[in-house]
Symmetry: D2
Subunit: 508 residues, 4 copies
């Protein structure tokens, strides 16, 4: 559970209000704040790249209409009013965003083509609660092309791209989401998705567990017809395992968060790039020659270390797990305790999934101009609260960058107030989102079509063969040519020619 | 089962007679050739470093005594004759080798110290069948220090270091092994270990499964008292899984081959270095600018690719598994089919665990001076047999290096006749052997002390906690300092402060 | 002169009007456009990081005063009006920027301390024409601390940071510069620096050659008292060499552009980072697995290739120089002609210093979504003009990012309209500017103090010993500890213990 | 004999007696020891690869003829006896070696073809003194094909490959060299080359300066007809610069040692590989996680550091030159003084060209099992002599590997007794030798054909254009495709389309 955990947070105008429940947080669902940002969004609406004059951003800005969407009467061009979005007239702009996203999500497009004939989701009634972005739209339209009916709400009150929501509504999708929902709006939207006259969902696609929770709480009978839940967030998965443990999970659930392909891209490959991007955009620092300590050598830590080493930084690693520690050694990093190097390093990066990894005591001992940031989990890793004391002065020097100044003039540079650097201060490439969306689509197909008894009331990892299939759909992006086993070779290895190719414990 | 499989073979003067049974080989145990080399040996006896004038090698050479050890009457200084080695008088030389090995195996020495007080193997009667080298001797003496009684035979007819066997015999270990055993000798030695008046083993430590097989065949009743089997080779593990599948496994067995630490060291880290070493020692080639195709991107392939890329080679990869293929792409390698690049590459390296990956057709199309070698599995990957045709001329240009010459003068450079390059032409660092030996010791302790019912008649992976312990014992070598969880952190993460730290599906 | 050339350009609001004269441009000085951006600026005013809400940027924005500074009557707090800046009242904000810059320019601060006692520039009257930024201010105040009098103008009509100019004026520096000068303003400011009653410069610090040109043209007699010119830009150096060749150079000039330390930082080390930063900020692309062709393997190309290779891209190189080509091979890059790979690559990067390296023909053959950008020189490398034809549609998708769309729908992504990516779309770390400024300071000290006859009317490289000194002043940043030669070793090597340590032809 | 044959230097049975004169050695030529090994030799005679059963080695071994070649009467098949070699009958074996070398030296073969028509060396009478190996033979036969007459002696008493010398003699070359010359033999052979009735050399090709010295001393009048000297060793070049400084150089000399191509290959690229090879062959150590200090960050140090970093070692650097020190920092290495890390490192590598870099004091403080070796220069860098004290025990554990044992049991592992590791314990690829030989051939052509006055009585670097030509001849090896300038581009850059492409101070 260490090092590999990672979660996505999105900043709103008034700052991030992210919150991820974890082991020691006995959240009560109906009291929890709902303005939660769990997933990063596509680049075009990332808050951290406000210098990008995407057309989306520009026309969004002009829609300064303050009327609540709930109070508006809107119809799409076909006369339907089964949706609630900011402004249906923005549909054309949103359509353009979707078309651009389609170009960068060839796997979903391929899926549409390959599976379209047989309509593997014919009869599926999917209720979804995710970020509403162009990439999500490509997913929804793919599900639709495969035969499914969909109803959708946003999993985050800030992350909806209004134009995309409008485009979806215009195309006939019942979408209930806009940017800047209130908490009440949030649950209202979800309710509008599930509480429909004459329509009952039989599949759930969730991101964070709020939709699942709402149905559990309000419409438990609905589960009788539900074939399964697909959940992609760490938090949502955690909740599902808790339900399962408590014997309360009443349908099969698929944990797509831990599929190999998704994990490697969300953590290792994506962070290898975003650590550099996040640091550069916020501080314009030079990496060469800098001394860096990376706390945690899971996938995220491995990615950060590899990138910084390649850029000429001198990297130290801290770890609690001896196996990961040994890997750090063999990969060429000095394994230290944080105290040993805290006085000398130029940058401190946390990637542990743990809390209070960087304490006030550490912060007190850092040298002047030391940069402190978090790539790991939520905002617990650095004890930022401990810096809110009278003797320290905070100075906001840029968006996402604070100088915290000690009485003797020493200042440390705190990024994103200790929240996730890569999500607050860099962007997530569409390619990564494509992998996630493809994984979700395949999980839905699998659960919906699985023969009776294949899945019980438990939480499952995506079958390896589907994991492999997601990967194979993304190979053409790289003009990569896979080799096929001959019959003789397949027999020799005892493998099916179409996979799966590895035992379950294989570590990649 | 791909890419990650790897096996060790040792060459004798008269060539390697290695043979690894795999899926399609229905071997009958009592007919199979026994002169099998399965594991690599320590550097001091490696056939590929005959330029090293280790003292061991030199005094070995002088012992040109042709009498069979079975016909000799030997006693150690305490009067015991319960052993059979080449020459008990070489004990002193062997002791020196053991002492040197001890310096490089700090984990076993630490284990002796830490566990000695409680003698966790008190009462254990271990029969072992492994390579007999200085490193094995350190393992045996550690087991003894922990309270066990041991009897030992060699798992390979060529690999015994006679001086070390003598030193063990002199110290009172019943050892039955010498370099150059006949097939009959091989089984005789094993039999002498198990067929003893008044002594019955209760633990088995096997490497390749021959010992286990012998007991199954000759003394099945012995299993009533046996608490478990520890097996470390791919082949032996494969046999155990077959037994288990067939319902014939009558004691718990521990598959130590697939422990995380061992796998990473045997495959990724060791091969990252030995691919360079093996190529350099045999061909003295320059790596910079060379075009290389690596077949297979499992741990071995990953290690080979990383090393060659770092040395300035241009590396192409072939794969059958789309996930590994995607990893190759993200790591910066062009994923191709072998046919696409076979005409242009300077080096072909197989790391697949498969057979006939490089066919005669490929070989026909390679360019002049192309180097072909195998890092993967046995000698099946390159279809060497297809080169034994009249129109091709073989020219032995060095030990382990053949030029195969086509009628038009084109020559390819075949290394180690397609057997494993890293074992035939480079050496295995003691550090790697130390990890294996420590893993074996811990597996024996675990199986021997496990409460009734923890292990059934099945094949188990080493418990993660012990895997982590093996790693932790090797950290001091790197002056590496592990961080400990605070109570608060452990609670937050829901972990025990002493581990295990990861879920079972964690991929490292 | 290839590959290693690099120049800096700054974009103004209305687009970049950069222009660098080169071999084939017979510019006449008095006709040339003056709105030239030659040097990159510090991060805080970089046009490419408008998302950074530096305090400077924010208070700048509020000063929407449209009166020309030339028409204002301003005095500093000491009553002086020998300056012309936007608004003297912004001095306090500028001082804060300067203080922050001081923290990051320890070499200049060390120089102040070390050389202050002796005032090596006592009596020096320096007229300067450079970008006016916080870093320049640190340089000017250092020169002043060393004994010099300074008068200063801007070398670029857009690049002046008004607050910093105000702070300098407040401190008593005669500064004539503001952001948004007209061409007439530009020359007026320069003239106000040199045409002063009762003050004649004896040293020139120039960046681009405009100041030097102005004095040549208007006040040639002034050169009688001038001890030397220090010039740091490629363009300015080129002009000086032309003057020297034509026998018209009448004072010694120091080419600080080609000092080892400056070159390596401006080119290799800085570009190694800025290629990633520039691509990421503009496109949010993922580097892993991407196919990239880098045109030119000089220092800039080497930096780009190393960074992209480390991020998992597959990199091809084109070169005209066989030595650099061989280096590319040995460093692990396929050396190709652009035509060979143009259809398959995802990114094209030019780093040649040449023109028309990427032609319309190449652009026509690129695949959909190919990204095209220039890291090399000016905007000549990509034939952007050839894309201004009716059948192609240009779509501005972000600041600095255009989609150029072919009739069949194919689009290429053109960054910064073919101008320098790293300057348009990323930033230059203060550390790099620190090296440049230190080099300038030392060159001034050297020229001013050189004994008669050491320098003739020619263009000189910075003496190696001073180059080494610049490097040594920056080592403390990395907590780097230099080893000193013993007397015996110095004698053995035939070296002075204080350097210089290498022959002139040494290549580093 | 193998695909990538290689090279050379040189251990004798009783160890290497290499000696390089440097600044503080006022050697008197006629007193200096002559059994000097200055250059490495081909692998086939390398003492460190005695496991290679090259046919050459084997037939050499069988020629246990103890008669001095000087006392033998030998004729080649054409009746000539103008040579002195070990055994003319070995010619056939030597011819085979030469033919194999030809395959791997395509640049010289291309030179034969390209320049053959015009015979640019027609009339040249070249006297040479170099190592006599297959690669040298390819050079000599190339020179001959270009029109030159050659006479040749060995520059090292141990390095001659007798079979190759025989093959050259059989082909009509007057060769005077054998393995195992006495000092008297050495000078006698040189004298036989120059002191010939009716033949006077007009070109000198020297390696170490002994031939040049002999002519200076014995036949100074000969210089009247000599057009130039080509010298390739550090030592020889040093002597030439001393002669030049003293005004005693009476013909032009070409320093080919410092050509760009040769330097990069001999130092950076070759050492990047040989540091790994040398350490592996001698110690079988694992690189991953090891702490290494590299003394000196010139080209050799850069190569060593890059390779070890890539293999997962943690590398520290020491430097005396601040510029190289700053490079080390930016490349990601901690710059330290040796004392700071000497207690903790696992390996110490010297690459300084200096003396007493590692002192007894350092050696005393190293930890147990620390490996110490020299990649830099001669055997002065490690103060090996200081270890020859009674309290320390030396134990030879392998060829080229000594354990030096302190009274408390601590042992350090000293490689090659402090002589050059890469030459004693690894090999030099033929590709590197090919570059050197091509450079020599081009330098001879240049000096021989230069118009009167181009070269004066001074030491010159190889003209850049020829340096570029050497590189271009080696590009086909990598299937590398050079781009050509268009006329327009060449004009823009002010360059000739055929080069040279860079200013003299360009640093590559």
């Amino acid at each position: 559970m260490l090092g590999s955990k990672k979660k996505y947070i999105v900043s709103g105008d008034s700052g991030i209000k992210a919150q991820i429940q974890f082991a020691d947080q006995k959240q009560e669902f109906n009291k929890r704040p709902t303005k939660i940002g769990r997933r990063s969004l596509s680049r075009s609406i990332s808050q951290s790249s406000t210098d990008s004059y995407s057309s989306a951003a520009s026309y969004t800005d002009s829609s300064d209409d303050e009327t609540s969407p709930r109070d508006k009467q809107q119809k799409n061009s076909k006369g339907s009013s089964d949706f609630c979005v900011k402004n249906i007239k923005q549909a054309e702009f949103g359509r353009r965003e979707i078309e651009i996203a389609e170009q960068e999500m060839p796997a979903l497009m391929a899926l549409r083509k390959r599976a379209q004939g047989e309509k593997p989701l014919a009869g599926a009634k999917i209720v979804g609660c995710t970020h509403i972005t162009a990439q999500t739209a490509v997913l929804m339209e793919t599900l639709s092309a495969l035969g499914a009916q969909c109803r959708w709400a946003a999993c985050n009150i800030y992350s909806t791209l209004n134009e995309v929501a409008a485009a979806l509504a215009e195309s006939g999708f019942p979408v209930f989401a806009w940017k800047g929902e209130s908490e009440d709006d949030f649950w209202w939207c979800i309710d509008r998705c599930v509480n429909v006259e004459g329509w009952q969902p039989n599949m759930i696609l969730d991101d964070g567990g709020d939709l699942t929770h709402w149905i559990y709480k309000k419409y438990p009978n609905m589960f009788k017809k539900i074939k399964g839940i697909v959940e992609e967030s760490v938090t949502g998965v955690h909740r599902l395992y808790q339900l399962s443990k408590a014997g309360k999970l009443c349908v099969p659930a698929m944990n797509v968060n831990d599929s190999v392909t998704k994990q490697k891209f969300d953590n290792l490959y994506c962070c290898r790039e975003s650590i550099l991007d996040g640091l550069k955009r916020t501080t314009d620092m030079m990496f060469g020659g800098k001394q860096v300590v990376v706390c945690g050598y899971g996938e995220v830590g491995k990615g950060c270390c590899a990138a910084l080493k390649a850029m000429g930084s001198i990297v130290y690693v801290t770890e609690i797990d001896p196996i990961c520690a040994l890997q750090a050694c063999m990969d060429g990093f000095r394994l230290v305790k944080l105290n040993e190097v805290i006085r000398q390093v130029d940058i401190v990066i946390t990637c542990t999934g743990n809390k209070n990894v960087v304490t006030r005591e550490h912060l007190d001992r850092m040298k002047n101009s030391c940069i402190v940031c978090n790539m790991g989990h939520s905002n617990t890793e650095i004890d930022v609260a401990s810096l809110r004391t009278p003797e320290l002065t905070w100075e906001r020097v840029r968006s996402q960058v604070d100088h915290v100044i000690w009485p003797d003039g020493k200042r440390i540079v705190l990024l994103a107030e200790g929240r996730l650097l890569n999500l607050s201060c860099s962007t997530v490439p569409t390619f990564v989102l494509s992998i996630t969306a493809t994984t979700q689509a395949l999980a839905l197909i699998e659960l919906y079509n699985a023969p009776e008894g294949r899945y019980k009331q438990d939480v499952y990892l995506l079958p390896k063969k589907m994991d492999e299939y997601v990967a194979s759909l993304h190979l053409p992006t790289f003009d990569a040519h896979l080799t096929e086993l001959t019959d003789e070779q397949a027999k020799y290895l005892g493998l099916n020619k179409n996979g799966p190719f590895k035992p379950n414990y294989y570590r990649y």
